[in-house]
Each structure stands twice: as C-alpha cells, then as structure tokens.
C-alpha cells in the first residue's frame, strides 16, 4: 500500500478539485459513467500490467479491439451465431494472438516491442480489410443477455465495473499471493537467475501474454457493446497507451519486475478522472492529450522522487 500512496493522493486531490469546481462531478450519472469507463479500461490495463511486469510490452491492444469488434459484429449480425459461442470464439481468437506474441517473445526471442508493434499494424489492417473499411454495428436491439451483461448495471454499479472488481481480486491473488505471481516477478527482475532457480521462464512469459490477451478480449467485448458500432479505422486506437500509462502511473517499471494490481487500478481511475475533468471544466477538448501527458509526466516524476527518498531512509 505504501507504494501506491503517492498516486492515491494525486487521485484524491484531482477528485476533490474537480468536485469543487463543478458540482456535476459527484452526480450519480457522471459517477456511473466514469465507473463504466474505469471498468472497461481497467480490465485490459491489468492484463498489460502482467506483461509489463515480465519486462515486456504489448502495443497491439487497440488494434486487437478493432479486429475483435469487427469479427464479433460479423459473427453475430451476419452469421447469426449464438452470442455465447460468438463471444467464446472471439476470446479464443484473441488468446491465440497472445499465444503467438508469447511464442515470438519467449521462444524466438524477438523483442516484445517489435512483435507487438507489427501486431498493431497488422491487426488494424486486417480489421479494415475484413470490414471493407465500413462501420459494423450491433443494431439497437437483440443479443438480450449479452447486451445486458456488457452495458447493464448490477444495482447502482455498471457491469464493466463489477467485472473489473472481480478481475482485480482474482489478479491480486494470482500476482501477490500465488507461486505463479512470484515467478512472474522473478522472471521480470532477472530471467537468468529465475531459470537457475528452476523456474520455466519461457512458460511464465508465454502465459503472461496469453493472460493479457484474455483480459484484452473481455475488455474488447465490453467496449464493442459500449460504442455499439465499430469503425475499423479508429476503434480502440491508442488504447494500449492508456493501459501502459495506467500501469506506469500505478508503479510498474518498464524494466520489469515491479508493479501491483492496486496501483494499476488506481492508475486507470486517475486517467479517467482526468478525462472527466477536461470535459467537465470545459477545457478545450483539443488539449485533452496534452493535459493527460503532463499529468502522467509529473505523476511519474514525483513518484520517482518519493521512491528515491524512501530508499535513502532505509
């Protein structure tokens, strides 16, 4: 918890300021909408965090959203598959991509940045080709249960937020309490030493990419139904960067071996509050990215300074 203290304070300060400047911030509708977004972004950010902890990266997330969205729309609307089968098939497909990335990184020893950069380009192109560059939609009705699961509420809580809480709890136990989690950190810190201690580092890395893509796939379904229409040229674009930013804000090091689930979730929340702040305070929306860039920059800078101080004390 100590490590997340800095970013938690930043989150509280931001929430406080926004709430004071605009009373709508604390309105039920606004909070609900924010929770929905935090849910959707948080799930894939946790996945990305796992990969970053092994010392890797996955840049293909946004393009995977586009490809998965287009395929899902085709399966449901044009091929009329049952939604359960369609969703499972899309998840399996996305995990297969993760398996491919993992194999290239862990076995062939390609650099993760390059493997997933190629993925970013390739999947986006494929999505546009499959959809003939036309927007695919899910229409206004139908797919009863699925639509309810993806966009509905559980009591006052939006479904994606509920899913995030479940995912976060499971991920927390896996990462911070299980043997596998310890191995993930060990491989991220020092793959060679991990191997000398009998850890199958290749399998650990491979599994991180697959798990990450599983979570990306879950997010992908939620996001597809949230937007309800997929325009293959820009659906999900830049989302990987939100995920990376959330992980880094939450204390992950791009060198690997560092980071926590709580941190990633708080990092995601911070980004969404920022987004909300830009909207609510009537800041010119063209400045959107600039505000985010600046806050991430200073957040990480301050965090680093705090860590250095803490390291000196001990």
């Amino acid at each position: 918890m100590k490590k997340e203290l800095g970013i938690t304070m930043l989150l509280i300060v931001l929430c406080g300021t926004t709430a004071m400047l605009n009373h709508r911030f604390l309105g039920a509708a606004n909070l609900q909408n924010m929770a929905r977004l935090i849910g959707m972004y948080g799930i894939f950010s946790i996945g990305l965090g796992l990969v970053i902890i092994t010392g890797g990266i996955d840049l293909s997330v946004g393009s995977v959203f586009a490809l998965q969205g287009v395929v899902l729309a085709i399966l449901l609307r044009e091929w009329h598959w049952h939604w359960v089968i369609a969703v499972l098939a899309s998840l399996a497909g996305v995990m297969a991509l993760g398996l491919f990335h993992g194999l290239m990184v862990a076995r062939v020893r390609m650099q993760p940045f390059i493997v997933t950069l190629c993925g970013l380009l390739f999947y986006r192109g494929l999505a546009r080709y499959i959809a003939h560059d036309e927007t695919k939609g899910f229409g206004t009705g139908g797919f009863g249960m699925l639509r309810e699961l993806a966009t509905g509420n559980l009591g006052p809580l939006p479904m994606p937020f509920v899913v995030l809480i479940v995912v976060a709890i499971v991920a927390y136990v896996v990462l911070h309490r299980s043997v596998y989690g310890r191995h993930l950190y060990a491989v991220g810190r020092n793959e060679e030493a991990a191997r000398y201690s009998g850890i199958d580092s290749r399998r650990v890395i491979l599994s991180a990419y697959v798990l990450s893509m599983l979570l990306t796939g879950v997010s992908g379904v939620l996001i597809a139904f949230y937007t309800n229409s997929i325009s293959p040229a820009n659906h999900g674009s830049f989302y990987e960067l939100y995920g990376i930013a959330a992980a880094v804000l939450g204390g992950c090091s791009l060198r690997g071996g560092e980071g926590s689930i709580l941190g990633i979730v708080i990092g995601t929340a911070l980004l969404q509050v920022l987004q909300n702040l830009v909207n609510l305070l009537g800041i010119e929306s063209s400045l959107n990215f600039a505000v985010m860039g600046a806050v991430i920059f200073f957040g990480v800078l301050v965090d680093q300074a705090l860590r250095a101080r803490r390291a000196q004390k001990t």
Binding site: V179, S197, G198
Partner: protein
Amino acid sequence: MPASLLELKNITKRFPGVLALDDVSLSVGHGEVVALIGENGAGKSTLMNILGGVHQADAGEILFDGERVVIRSVADALSLGIGFIHQELHVLDNLDVAGNVFLGREPFWGGRLRLIDRRRMARESEVYLKRSGLAIPPQTPLQDLSPAQRQMVEIAKALSQNARLIIMDEPTSSLTLSETERLLATVCDLSEHGVSVIYISHRLGEIESCADRVVALRDGRNAGELSAGEVSHQKMVSLMIGRKLEDLYVHGKGPQPTPYFQVEGLRTQYRPRHRISFDVARGEILGFAGLVGAGRSEMAQAVFGVNAPLAGTVRLEDRPLAIHSPRDAIAAGVFLVPEDRRHTGLITEMTVRENITLAGLRRCATWLLVRPDRETEIARRQVEALRIKTPGIETQAMNLSGGNQQKVVLAKWLSLEPKVIIFDEPTRGIDVGAKAEIYRLMRDLADRGVAVIMISSDMEEVIGVSDRIAVMHEGEIAGFLKRDQFSEQAIMDLAVGSKAA
C-alpha cells in the same frame, strides 16, 4: 623529490552509524607496490574511495608528491595521476582496443567536425599497450579479448593518462593462474618504471609474490605492516583477523566407497567433440581444477541443464536422470551454486526471504497459494542455520556482503534436499573469514552424505578443500589426483596438457 609519492595522514571517515575509518595512515613510495589487505568491511574500499574523490574524509590530509591536495572527484584523481582499475572492468566491448584506451579523450582532426583521428589513436595506444604487457594490435575488437587482456587494456588506459599511481582492486578475481602471473609481471614492470601500485586482493599468494610492503586494515584502523622480507601467509591472516586462523580447511569423514553421482560421456554445446566422464561418491568433495576456458563451468551448466548436454548419461544412485533444464536437475536434487552470484545465483532486487524460497516455493504453498507463515519460517531457519548476517529476511539481497550473498544462494538449496551440489568458484571475492565458513558448510554437506563438486581456480583452495581433484584441459578431464598426489605442480602439469607419466 619527496620520499613518498602518496601520503594519507590520519584519515577519519564517519558514515551514519559507523566509523568507517579511524585515524588511518598509508604511504606509498615512488615505484613501490603496496598491498592493502583486510577483511570485507575493514575499510579498504572507503579508503580508496577517498583517494578517488568519491567520498571526502572528515579528518586527515592527503599529500601527493609532497603537496597537500584535495580530491573531489574521479577527474581530480586522474589529473593528479591516480588511476583506478576496478574489480568490474570498465571497458566497452563494442569498441576496439585503441578506442577503449582513448575513451572520452579521442584525438580528433577536421576542426569543428571533430572526426576521430584513428591513426594517431592506434599509434599512441600501441606504446601504452606494450608497456602494460599486451602484444596485440590496437585495432583488435575488445570482444575478442580474454578477461586478463581486458585488464591490461585498462592498465594501458591508466598509463595513457600519465598515471603515477595505479590502484588495483581485486584485479585477479576473474583471471586464471597463468593470466594472474602475467598480470603480476606487469605490476613488477610498472614499478620498475617508477609507477607506484596499491594492490588490493584476497589472494594472499599473489601478494607474497609481488608486494614490496603489506598494509593491513582491520575494523577501520591500521592493523599493522609487513615489509617484503616478513610477508608470509600466516602473518597476513593474523593481521587481518586479529587472531590466528586455526583451520581454514576442515577434513571430514571421507567419501563412502560406492559411486553415487556418475557422469559418462558428457558432450557440451561448448566443446561438442570432447567427452567428460567422472563420478562422485556421497561424502566426497571432488575439486575441478584447470585453466579458465578449460570447460569446467560449461560442464557444470550442462549437468545442471542450463545448456542441455548434447550427449552423455548422468546417473544418480544408479538411476539415469533426464536433465533438459535446471528445473529437471532441481527436481532430481542436483543443484548449482553458479559462478556469477549477482546475475545468476540471486535476484538481487528481491529480498533474502524471496531468494531463499525461490526454488522451492511450491513447498510453502497450498493450492498454489503461498503461505506467508511457512515461507517466513523456512527463510528464518536458513538465515539462522547458515548464520547469514542480514538486518532481516526482508532486506534486499543486494545490500548483503559477498560472503552473505553466497550463503543466501546456498540457503536456497539447503531448504530443499540436496543430493549433489556443484559449487562454481564459491569463494570468489569473499574475504578470509567468510571463506572459512563456506568451506565448513561444504564439508558439513559432504558429511551429511551429499556429493559435492567444487570448481575453483584458486589453487590453494582446490588443494585444501578437495578429497580428490579432476583437472580439466581443453574440454576434457586430463587426469584425477588423489589426496597424496596433490601439489600445485601436479595440477599445473595436467592443466596445461603436459600429461605426467
């Protein structure tokens, strides 16, 4: 000309909580080789860091060439003519030799374009290479050089900066015997040319052969000096530890008669054409001697599954083992304490607890979830049993001394059930006191029925510790020596390939 080149007078340095140096004095004459000895933590590094401008002394003064000087940075030290050669080499292996010698001071031409004058660089570095005893063309890429040759490049670099005093910190820790001899010859040559040397080493044999004077530090104070005539192993050890070290080497119950761990026809990826066969009994310590590059570490890595062997059988208690990865080896009870403890032995950023339980974490887990109580208990027990000096089990391994880091690596294996343990250079860079403890632990293991293999380039250590010695030469075992055949000469003969009759 003043009598001594360097004089450190009454240096005191206090760090928060510790008095690192207490009224320490040291003088070095022109062309004199002074060996600085002491256990880890005795203050050698602090003293040298003050000389190098890394730290400032709280009290005392530094006289260089008779003048009082203030050294605030490494650059200050260099401009005075003090060069450093660290244990870890600071050379870049993507450059050639000349590029390394002139790194940061490249001669250039072409005015503002500042193009590197390669020809001049090569010509000038040749002079310094010759003086440092390295007969290779300056255009040789650094990656083609052995560790010893790289060290010579560092010396050439120091000379090119007009160093009048060169400080060598554990320069031979990764060198073979013959390379060490060449380095020592270079040291003598330097001193004949009027360059003074401060030589820091844990290997007392080297010091005996090259030092004009020995200065010992203990607990941050001057512990005494020995002149060239008085230097002996015994005297140095007693100055360092303040008492006599009774038995550095302990002998155990001796090996059991039947073979226990057998390796037959092992072919490594490193030298696919050579085969290695040997066996170790329970209770036996089999030493592996030989020159660096003879294939000893590669043998260990093949047996442990890091680089799976191309061929050969490995048997334990007459059952063949299929080892394709360290995981397989560990499951069979065959462990390796690797040579490079900071990169392969430990995850230095992780805590002592996490390092100790890393290989056997499943044992502390129920349903794959780690039970913190069990884990803590295992780590505590090992820290106590091995007497690991650490503030606590939650301390990061990087904050421990070399000897204690090595004990953590060992603790990792002792928390499982070892049947065979391979030690690769187990005491490199570790001080005398900690060495004795590691030897004792190895002997304890053997007496408990473990088969122990120890790879070492320290001749004294191999002879002192082993029950039997296998000497390797160019990828093969040139011969085995029994206890009554042990001698440096016999080992050297086999190691260089002149097969003794």
